[in-house]
Symmetry: D2
Subunit: 309 residues, 4 copies
């Protein structure tokens, strides 16, 4: 598929003058230090090919994109009973809102807002020490990406631990409703470490490939989830993956996706491939500005939108 490389190169050329746009997340001190003048993109196809442009080999903090992997782990652990602990509906509010938690008595709206991901961390933590749960996630991500070099950036994890008051608030609030079962410090220990996973676009595209390929990684042959579960995770990414910008992403891009405040976005073209885009500058709703634009261009030029070609 030389076409794909050509399409990526075209996007790269077109976006080059705009690299540096948007605003780097500043509420996590370590993230605020990242150089905004970076942009990369990688596609891993179900055929086993990988295409990339720009800074596609540079590791960045995947932040909330990790919620996709943790959701996969939690579903593997407790199955559909997970949905007693967390909902499956878009929230209509920002990523760290606590309002709906009060109205809905400690049950977060979906696994991709902070409260939901914290509840998921609590599920994954069951029967483990925090260190073990973090290890389990790291092994899982290395497994799906088929890359043993992936690691966690401890400085980022520490930075979030020291400043993540709002996440402490969310976790304590859910604990008050009985929807967090472990000590809040343990749960957030897991949560902050998962957010601090450092991956490049190339690693991330490969890691997400199982979602595009009926639940199995076509390169390694490893089965990760059933086809049905892969579809369902994709559905959740499409409806809830970009916080209160999910509708907009579906409208413009038309692919299941999950963004992180580190500037990364993981998108899935079912049956075709997995795409990672990264540029640290964020738009007003907290998603990578250039990443979203690049994905919109890609979807338009490939006809990959799930909503029609």
């Amino acid at each position: 598929m030389t076409d794909l490389q050509a399409i990526l190169d075209g996007i790269h050329a077109e976006l080059s003058p705009r690299i540096g746009e948007g605003k780097v997340a500043d509420y996590i001190p370590e993230l605020a230090k990242v150089d905004p003048n970076q942009f990369g993109m990688a596609i891993a196809t179900v055929n086993g090919d990988v295409y990339s442009i720009g800074d596609a080999a540079v590791p960045f903090s995947i932040q909330s994109i990790s919620k996709v992997f943790m959701l996969t782990l939690a579903l593997g652990k407790v199955g559909e009973s997970l949905w007693k602990r967390v909902g499956r509906e878009p929230s209509g509010t920002s990523f760290n809102s606590i309002v709906q938690l009060e109205k809905e008595e400690g049950i977060p709206r979906n696994p991709f807002i902070n409260a939901g991901a914290i509840a998921i961390s609590d599920v994954v933590l069951a029967g483990h020490e925090p260190r073990e749960a973090i290890g389990e996630l790291l092994r899982f991500v290395r497994y799906v990406a088929d890359d043993e070099t992936i690691s966690i950036d401890d400085r980022v994890a520490r930075s979030e631990t020291q400043t993540g008051y709002r996440n402490f608030a969310l976790a304590n609030f859910m604990r008050a409703y009985g929807n967090i079962h472990h000590p809040v410090e343990h749960v957030l220990g897991v949560y902050f470490h998962q957010c601090a996973l450092a991956m490049s676009c190339q690693q991330l595209a490969k890691a997400g490939l199982y979602l595009a390929a009926r639940g199995s990684n076509p390169i390694t042959g490893h089965s990760v989830v059933s086809p049905k579960r892969a579809r369902r995770i994709n559905a959740l990414m499409l409806t809830c993956g970009h916080y209160d910008g999910s509708g907009d992403f579906a409208y413009h891009v038309g692919l299941p996706g999950k963004s992180g405040v580190g500037g990364g976005i993981l998108a899935v073209a079912p049956g075709i491939g997995s795409i990672a885009a990264w540029s640290p500058g964020l738009n007003k709703v907290g998603n990578s500005q250039l990443g979203a634009v690049a994905l919109e261009m890609l979807a338009a030029r490939t006809g990959w939108s799930v909503f029609g070609d």
Copy 2:
């Protein structure tokens, strides 16, 4: 595609014992009179074939499904500037909530909640008398369905006019913010009449076919919208089409869809076909109980989910 008829027959046989499940909408007096023991389904494919089962030829009140056609009309009239008047995000609240309207100063979250659809009616009304706007919609629906027998049930429209206090509240509230430009009575006159469109599953499946077929009706050859706009309407249906049950529908069915309290659901399989299901009994979130189940079965058996096969 004899397969498709066999799949539909299988669904029909399996669901027969359950016909009558759910609760018929009772807040509109005329709808409360509908016999709950009805179930029908029809598929119109991009190849021009139509398959159906059960009460697929019985007209019912399409109610909120009409919001898809009105959105199409409004986009045709004012283009993307429509999005100054209404948002594109899931609401996270029930279909008739007024709370978000206050917080977001009269701009409804999306075109598929009541407030959004009322704003859309106001857009379609521009330059028209109410009667003309209703006529325009009726002509449009007859055109896309290629069926001149489709009509509006005046008793239903009257019934809603007399009891739709909450819609009067929404319209007046938006007018207070300047987001309704015409007299509230006129706007709601249009709105109540669009909801009172009576269509059968067969008519509805054909009417929705342009959304599955890159914006054109493959049977008549009529071009309705551009491929891009068809994709975008599908995206909105998937993220916002079932009110606060949109995430759940995406999770279980995996197709863009729009439900109505009359018990109908219109779903779109891009590139494949348009599906209408109908059964008057509603589930807890106000969508057709059997309709949703039937669509889930269909998607599972055909592999039509947009999120992977």
Copy 3:
């Protein structure tokens, strides 16, 4: 009590340079025309004396102050059963918020926010034509003020009718919950006319005297309500009389009071007297800026605060 006149004169002298401060309400066209350079104040004591300064004889639109008289009428009509229709708690929101109405299913928080006053209008309307209910209120206000010249400004009533979309929204919303029993147009007809009562500070101070004097007007000897009911209306004025500025008014002035967007404030010093202050310019929370300052000065200089001298 020559002292009182001296105190009023002192306040007048001190505030003279500030007359014109604040912002005249502009959302009701007729009110926007009022000259901001006006200030008046009157005190009617339980001994039958009346003191006044400035423009105390100039009639102005009392607006929401009328809610005190309507509440008195409604309690006379249905007694304590009134509290099934409306609450008695501060709202924590602005005067025209609709949010709490949804959460609390059509029962407004208290009689002094718009929704509550509209429900009260519906109660007073029972068994009457709108014209009769308006007549009953006018007779009542003339009776308690002992002044047959008090009238309703029809231009103001008309102006509100034509622009009061938000009140139409509130009324329709409550009607949807069954908490408005009459046609919305009738209820709002009464509501808009009560708001359009035109009274001077002198008339208003006398009209409120029954609340300071155990329920009876000491000048005319007319009994209006029982001592217990007078106390209770005062309690409601103190906790809810200034919308979301009620706590602030209690903190700074320490008297039961009710403000209107026409720039008037009626305050009650139980056992001592009734005070009316007026200046059209409003502060940020929608209460008369100079009126509130003048009352704070009066309370400080007389020791009339109900919270101690």
Copy 4:
């Protein structure tokens, strides 16, 4: 004033059959153990007399009543600048709601809801170790009550520390907005200890006397606050002292008051005296059921309501 003792005895006799009514708070394990069959009441007058009935000498956990003393301390420490950190308006929500905190960006509505009291603890903590701040409060309460035997129940403090997840949520949430300056554990250490103050009705009535007596304790002659500040604290108690039941308490009792989930209520009759009532069973809004009834009877029989006799 033998009358007062007679009135108290009458109330005691009348309420005796009802002792045990209501529901003891069970969300703090230590409080859940309290015997519900207790009732006491004490009045300390500005003349220096103390009247009491029932279990007026039994110490109980004053819980939120301590917020009155902490507010007094904080105002003494930072004066009116305190109001940059906390508002002065009724909340319209329950005592531990977090919703308004998000809307109002970390500034609690008033000092008497949990969030507000936690912010006040942070203010009192400035320049101190937690132990010192707790010591300062204890000294202050002993001073105003003129009673060195008053102490803090460490088991209650510990019990709240271990289960107070919601308060941890509130504190972390405010810290995220920069409205908590000290480590959350320190602030809540102070907060939980203040709530665990154990006092009898007699001690509490004497401790609150300065609020009834122009800011000074007439028995000891100690000056605590200025007359103006005493009035203002009373105003806050009246508008905000009973969470979302403040309007109801003002309506039925007509005195500034502050309740605690331990079943105590402190009320103030300005210029007359300070009253403490206690019975562990709570009503639906979380205030002492019999305590509120007893105070309503007392106000009715004495004519002490601030809203008229």
